[in-house]
């Protein structure tokens, strides 16, 4: 598969009154053509900052201190503002979390959708409006032609998010970045929007980077998953590898803290404590303080990535050949069994 985006050793710092925040600490990942990569993690883990860096939308006090972001082989970080403007909304576009605030309330929606076409290409007003109507219809706004002159407040939340998606896809972007696009929506509407994104992906052949903290959504939409914690990717793999064969205790914690509909135990599993401050990131593994499986070495040295399979890597010392064998938490053991059923041969090798 061709790699459309490659992020290598990215580091981003923010200068604040309190000191320098190391928001992204050596992050690398890639994105293949046509695939959906989900990035999961809690607030402050650096997932949004990563995407904003790709879009060239870092706040003024943010600085890339190391790394490269190759889009079709060319480093985005070296692009001028003019080149970035040509790229944003055209080659790479973004869907934001809140459909209530990402549309202009004083502009008819037809104009807002058509605007993107007019900015990036030499299109007549009439042709742009026709195209806007076609794309709005494509994302499920019924009778779009008659509604081009309507304002955002005349649409419901789910419809507004469809309009935002129409703006994002009208130029057939090669990469679509979705930052929690369904978090503000009801479950029924969320299901419709996710279905729409999947459908559009095949229609316009785009790659999607999907940020969310909802593992249920990830399971439904992602081909591959990267888990972030305290400014680093700590585990990545295919969706099955992450959900059924997770290796990092933080990924375990996330999977355990979701009540499945069968959960009936007295207490939910909660990850104790809160993430560390990135003003002074811990010397060793950033998750060590909250990790019941932490080893001595976790407090002293950051774990490197250990290879689980060609597509699956995890940064935990538990994978070191000298690490003690640990007993898996029940929920993770249950998932491991499903994994073994799916891959009878490979998992035997691992034993």
């Amino acid at each position: 598969m061709t790699k459309i985006l490659e992020v290598n050793n990215l580091q981003v710092d923010f200068h604040t009154y309190a000191g320098t925040v190391h928001a992204i600490r050596n992050v690398s990942f890639d994105l293949a053509k046509g695939e959906t990569l989900a990035i999961v993690g809690e607030s402050g883990s650096g997932k949004s900052v990563t995407l904003r860096t790709i879009m060239g939308l870092l706040a003024k006090n943010g600085k890339v201190t190391n790394g490269e972001i190759l889009f079709n082989g060319k480093d985005i970080l070296k692009k001028s503002e003019r080149e970035l403007n040509a790229m944003r909304g055209n080659d790479i576009s973004m869907i934001f979390q809140d459909p209530m605030t990402s549309l202009d309330p004083t502009m008819p929606i037809g104009k807002q959708v058509a605007e993107v076409l007019r900015i990036h290409g030499d299109v007549s007003k009439k042709a742009a409006m026709d195209e806007a109507a076609r794309v709005l219809e494509l994302v499920g706004i019924n009778g779009a032609k008659e509604r081009l002159k309507d304002y955002p407040h005349q649409f419901s939340g789910g419809q507004r998010q469809r309009i935002v998606i129409a703006i994002a896809i009208i130029n057939n972007p090669q990469i679509l970045i979705a930052d929690e696009p369904t978090t503000a929506l009801d479950v029924t509407i969320q299901a419709q929007i996710l279905e729409l994104l999947k459908e559009l992906q095949t229609k316009i052949d785009t790659s999607i980077i999907f940020i969310t903290h909802d593992l249920g959504v990830v399971a439904g939409i992602a081909d591959r998953v990267a888990v972030m914690y305290a400014g680093k990717i700590i585990e990545y793999g295919t969706v099955d590898e992450i959900f059924y064969n997770a290796q990092h205790p933080y990924t375990w914690g996330l999977l355990e803290s979701m009540p499945t509909l069968e959960t009936n135990s007295a207490r939910l599993h909660a990850i104790p404590g809160t993430p560390p401050s990135l003003l002074n990131p811990p010397k060793g593994d950033a998750f060590a303080a909250r990790n019941a499986y932490a080893l001595q070495i976790d407090t002293e040295q950051q774990p490197p990535f250990f290879k689980v399979s060609d597509t699956h890597y995890a940064a935990t010392w538990l994978l070191h050949p000298d690490a003690p064998k640990v007993e898996l938490p029940p929920e993770i053991a249950r998932r491991r069994k499903i994994w073994q059923k799916m891959n009878p041969t490979t998992s035997k090798e691992a034993e």
Binding site: E42, S43, G157, D186, V187, T188, I189, Q190, A191, Q192, L194, E195, H213, D214, L215, G216, V217, V218, A219, G220, V239, D240, F243, Y244, G253, L254, L255, S257, M258, P259, T260, L261, T263, A266, R267, L268, H269, A270, I271, P272, T274, I338
Partner: protein
């Protein structure tokens, strides 16, 4: 929730809440709401935005004056109490609320000990300053915060910690009944579990009754003894959480359940969303809550009862 002693704490009958009554833009936010909440249980209230779940919660705590209907709390109808009356003040002490947004619901210019003690002060529940401080320290400990931090301001706390402060404030006046309106939806997954566990723990310690309003159905299923489903301002289904999840009867409940994302790729690949046609609610037929199987209520018209009964029987085969 023990079945043997089912004492009704809150009973809602025919509750209606209209806004802009008699004007052109009249909104019938909730209509024909009937349910009971038993002492010591958690009733989950679910539905999409605009379904009226928050309005129901706010009407019960009398943040609004209900248009019609009864709200019986410990046998007394509080729907018609006047603001400022002695009975109202007593009621307000018995019932407290935890809000959704831990950032907006704490006054940024007050120290957290003053935020927590506001109810104590208004109701004169502290003998002197030392007693007040001791009560605040106790509450902070109860919700898992450091009592030494009582003099700090809200901005010094994280979202999860702020929600703990909101819980401490609600507990300060020793209420019997707490309405929690989406208390965890603004929090991260790993923190959500902490707060839900805390709510359960406190419920056991203090024998509290909860009305838990949320749209995250998997969390609601986990925390609730019974679940009420709302749609278009009406209650459409009410039963134990296992019944609602495993044997849903109303088509809206079925559709809602089919939309829940499950953290399991295999299940997700097989998931078929069930569409819901809301027009069946608007065919003009008279509907009311009918007990289809013991304890399982569905909002149904006369002609629909048999169909629901057959569906319920089919589940039990």
């Amino acid at each position: 929730m023990a079945d043997e002693k089912k004492e009704v704490l809150v009973s809602v009958r025919g509750l209606e809440q209209y806004f802009n009554l008699g004007k052109k833009d009249e909104v019938r936010a909730i209509q024909d709401i009937n349910f009971d909440i038993y002492r010591g249980e958690t009733l989950g209230l679910v539905g999409e935005s605009g379904s009226g779940k928050t309005t129901t919660g706010r009407a019960i705590i009398r943040l609004y004056k209900p248009t019609a209907g009864e709200i019986n709390f410990e046998g007394k109808d509080i729907a018609k109490l006047k603001n400022g009356s002695k009975e109202m003040q007593e009621f307000r002490r018995e019932v407290q609320m935890i809000f959704q947004d831990p950032y907006a619901s704490l006054n940024p210019r007050m120290k957290i000990k003053d935020i927590i003690a506001e109810g104590i002060d208004i109701n004169h529940l502290a003998k002197d300053d030392a007693d007040r401080d001791a009560q605040v320290a106790n509450l902070l400990q109860l919700v898992g915060l450091n009592p030494d931090h009582a003099s700090r301001y809200p901005h010094e706390f994280s979202g999860g910690q702020r929600q703990r402060i909101g819980i401490a404030r609600a507990l300060a006046v020793q209420p019997q009944f707490i309405i929690a309106d989406e208390p965890i939806s603004a929090l991260d997954v790993s923190i959500q579990a902490q707060v839900v566990n805390l709510l359960k723990e406190i419920q056991e310690k203090r024998d509290l009754t909860y009305l838990f309003i949320a749209h995250d159905l998997s969390m609601v299923k986990y925390i609730s003894d019974r679940i009420a489903v709302m749609h278009y301002g009406r209650l459409v289904e009410l039963s134990t959480s296992d019944e609602v999840y495993n044997h849903p009867l109303h088509p809206y409940t079925k559709s809602l359940l089919s939309a829940i994302p499950v953290p399991d790729p295999e299940t997700e690949r097989l998931r078929k969303p069930v569409p819901y046609d809301a027009s069946i609610e608007e065919d003009g037929q008279d509907r009311s809550m009918v007990e289809i199987t013991p304890g399982h209520f569905v909002y149904a018209a006369k002609g629909e009862i048999e169909g629901y009964k057959a569906a319920a029987a089919a589940y039990n085969k």
